[in-house]
Amino acid sequence: MTVKTLTIDDKLVSAREQDTILDVARESGIPIPTLCHLDGVKDVGACRLCLVEIASGSPDRPNRLQPACVTKVVEGMVVYTATERLKKYRRMIVELLFSERNHICSVCVANGHCELQDIAITVGMDHVRYEYVSPLCEVDITHGLFGVDQNRCILCTRCVRVCDEIEGAHTWDVAGRGIGARVITDLHQSWGEARSCTSCGKCVLACPTGAIFRQGATVAEMDRDRSRLSVLMTAREKREWIG
């Protein structure tokens, strides 16, 4: 295995060949905000919050912006994770997310246990300057145990990935496009009718907001232990359950 060295925020760090910038940064205690990233499942680079600046090495060419979660380390790479430009972009991306659907924390079951809320605080997004889009969204509580409130969904597709990659059911997927995109169960049946669902609850664990929830859960009960998902994946990959 080859080891690479690179510079992140003026700090020299070493990385394994297959590591992403996000892996190394986390290991070295350099915080990079993320939303769609979830330990244990594949990265898709969709939320754009983990964008970092990669030095072009020439004053004539601008630095490149790359998502840290899917960008592999390169020997001698110079990375900046918190430039003023990046901070501004991250704040605006969160602002755009808040303007999209209904993210009123005070009336949300995930209040206090919401990654979107945490990120907003981290990046300093304290007000929305855009008009709210507020598309018509459904709430589906046809499932016996769980429910999905599309109004809170940020389309991170964590539910799609845990369901497909860990549970192997692929109940969740995305339908529609643009602002009309929605996570759906099976072929857009109601969740209660989705035959492929095993009611394992991994999507509930994975959801960063209050979009997918356990029915009847109180705000205090919305604390989700997401590490259980990555433990499952690690155990499977390293065959920890054998012998």
Binding site: V44, L96, V133, L155, V174, G178, I179, A181
Partner: protein, 533 residues
């Protein structure tokens, strides 16, 4: 199939041609239902005049001047009749005997015809796109034979590199380099993909090429497949092009029957199978990774690059993705040599480019000019300027990813670098002309709304950012916006451009940015507080 057989077919078909050919355009723009009726009427008129042994009526591809269609061309006199109707057929046939025709004739010396240089469109409007023999007659598939029997794959790559051909889909990536990368990539198998998901509003270059000369594209794909070591190709055509799909299906069947596609092509060990995949109406599927996801049967959304398709494309195998027009250049380059191609165009942009000229312009249609041609020549000479007494205000190039070029920059040379420098792009070749009655904000909003509708929804900046840009533009258009809103719009353009996932989002602000650059006063005039300093 051997070369001798190919040449025999060519000769036979050349001999079978009658001294006078009446060519009817049967492409989409000339409304195939009408033009087929015209063709039938002409055939009947020829029979009535007893001219069948001298005159032949044939269906051909696009003749270029689509705005004046349906068009009928007489060969070898090169007379073109415009806006023909079936009842004019007898008089067109009578004109062959020297009588004056009632149908309106186009001037053969018209700059629309004389100022062009046809490479990709050389056979468009001359051959019957539904007959492989007609393509063979004009030298078709000889380049493939030449490549297979007389060139090593390295030599083909070298030819492509030194030709200087750059991708015609919009980004202008050097084609030779891409071929070399795929050729070098290791994989149990490889694929060649032709991107025919042309979706820019006002663009119809690829449709015309596919409809007018389908074998040319197939030949280019076959040469590419031989070069990179692929045995399977996919032609991804958007579902809105039924005629192109039909003609390609026919062309593939004919190619297979003649042994020019399929197994052991030209008696070599080279096998190449081509299948058509039909797009289901998503603009984003023109982005190569989304296109591949769509071919694989998945949801058409882009995935992170790297790995690039050249390394890991369809089902993880090395894949060469090129645009229709790029493939359409290949056979000419192999036939005439890379130097011939490199002598056309400018330093950085070689060859010719096909443009779809539309909008407020006298001569609407499909044109092909050498790279480096000044925009003015296209708008004023070939296009004939704005119709009536209007004057041209700006030209939009590059579709929703491009920008608006104001009239005072019409001396700009049409090449990749110059267009980029003035805030637009070459794009795939859509060219929309606007006169002084057009509001540039309406234009910008049109394209932003297009991108908003076509965003796949995967990443936040494109999904929500384009929506917010559209809302702000609507507000500006209604006259209720303030300077703050304009600032917010510019700020949004910046974030959407730099943080979006794929090219669709990254270039979505271009129409706004370029109109802000050249027509800022139009925006400011609409602000409710524009007098306040």
């Amino acid at each position: 199939m051997e070369l001798a057989e190919l040449l025999d077919i060519a000769e036979e078909w050349q001999k079978a041609q009658k001294p006078i050919r009446i060519c009817c355009c049967t492409s989409t723009a000339c409304q195939p239902t009408v033009s087929l009726a015209i063709k039938q009427a002409l055939e009947e008129a020829v029979a009535a005049e007893d001219l069948e042994d001298q005159v032949q009526v044939c269906g051909v591809g696009c003749l270029g001047l689509c705005g004046k269609g349906p068009l009928v061309k007489i060969e070898p006199d090169e007379i073109v009749y415009e806006q023909v109707s079936p009842d004019q057929a007898p008089s067109i046939v009578a004109a062959l005997k020297g009588e004056t025709s009632a149908a309106s004739k186009l001037e053969p010396e018209h700059p629309f015809f004389t100022r062009q240089m046809k490479v990709v469109l050389e056979h468009s409007g001359n051959i019957d796109p539904e007959r492989i023999e007609d393509y063979i007659r004009v030298g078709g598939y000889q380049a493939l034979y030449h490549a297979l029997h007389e060139m090593t794959t390295d030599e083909v790559v070298d030819a492509m590199v030194s030709s200087g051909l750059r991708g015609r889909g919009g980004a202008g990536y050097p084609t030779g380099l891409k071929w070399a990368t795929v050729a070098k990539s290791r994989g149990e198998r490889k694929f060649v993909v032709c991107n025919g998901d042309e979706g820019d509003p006002g663009a119809f270059m690829d449709r015309s090429i596919l409809e007018s000369d389908p074998h040319r594209v197939l030949e280019g794909m076959a040469i590419a497949a031989y070069t990179v070591g692929a045995d399977q190709g996919f032609l991804y055509i958007r579902g809105e092009y039924p005629l192109a799909i039909k003609r390609l299906q026919k062309a593939i069947q004919q190619g297979k029957r003649m042994g020019l596609l399929g197994t052991q092509i030209f008696e070599t060990s080279f096998n190449f199978r081509v299948d058509i995949r039909i797009g289901a109406g998503a603009f984003v599927c023109g982005e190569e990774t989304a296109l591949m996801a769509s071919i694989e049967g998945g949801r058409g959304t882009p995935r992170p690059r790297p790995p690039y398709p050249a390394e890991s494309g369809l089902w993880g195998y090395p894949t060469l993705v090129n645009n229709v027009e790029t493939f359409a250049n290949v056979a000419s380059i192999i036939r005439n040599g890379p130097k011939w191609f490199a002598d056309i165009g400018t330093e950085g942009s070689k060859g010719t480019k096909v443009f779809a000229l539309t909008g407020q312009i006298a001569n609407t249609g499909l044109i092909e000019v050498p790279m480096g041609t000044p925009l003015r020549e296209i708008v004023e000479d070939i296009g004939g300027g704005a119709p009536g007494y209007g004057s041209v205000k700006a030209v939009q190039t590059g579709g929703p990813s491009g920008g608006c070029i104001p009239a005072d920059l019409f001396d700009t040379s049409l090449d990749y670098e110059s267009l980029f420098r003035i805030g637009s792009i070459m794009g795939s070749g859509g060219m929309v002309v606007m006169d002084e009655t057009t509001s540039m904000i309406d234009v910008a909003d049109f394209y932003v709304e297009f991108c908003m509708d076509e965003s796949c929804g995967k990443c936040v900046p494109c999904r929500v950012g384009t929506q917010q840009m559209h809302q702000l533009l609507t507000k500006i258009r209604s006259g209720e916006a303030t300077r703050d809103d304009l600032d917010r719009l510019e700020e949004l353009c910046d974030v959407v451009r730099h943080t979006s996932f794929c090219g669709l989002g990254q270039s979505a602000p271009n129409p706004v940015l370029s109109t802000l650059r050249y027509f800022r006063n139009e925006y400011e005039a609409l602000l409710s507080d524009h007098d306040v300093v």
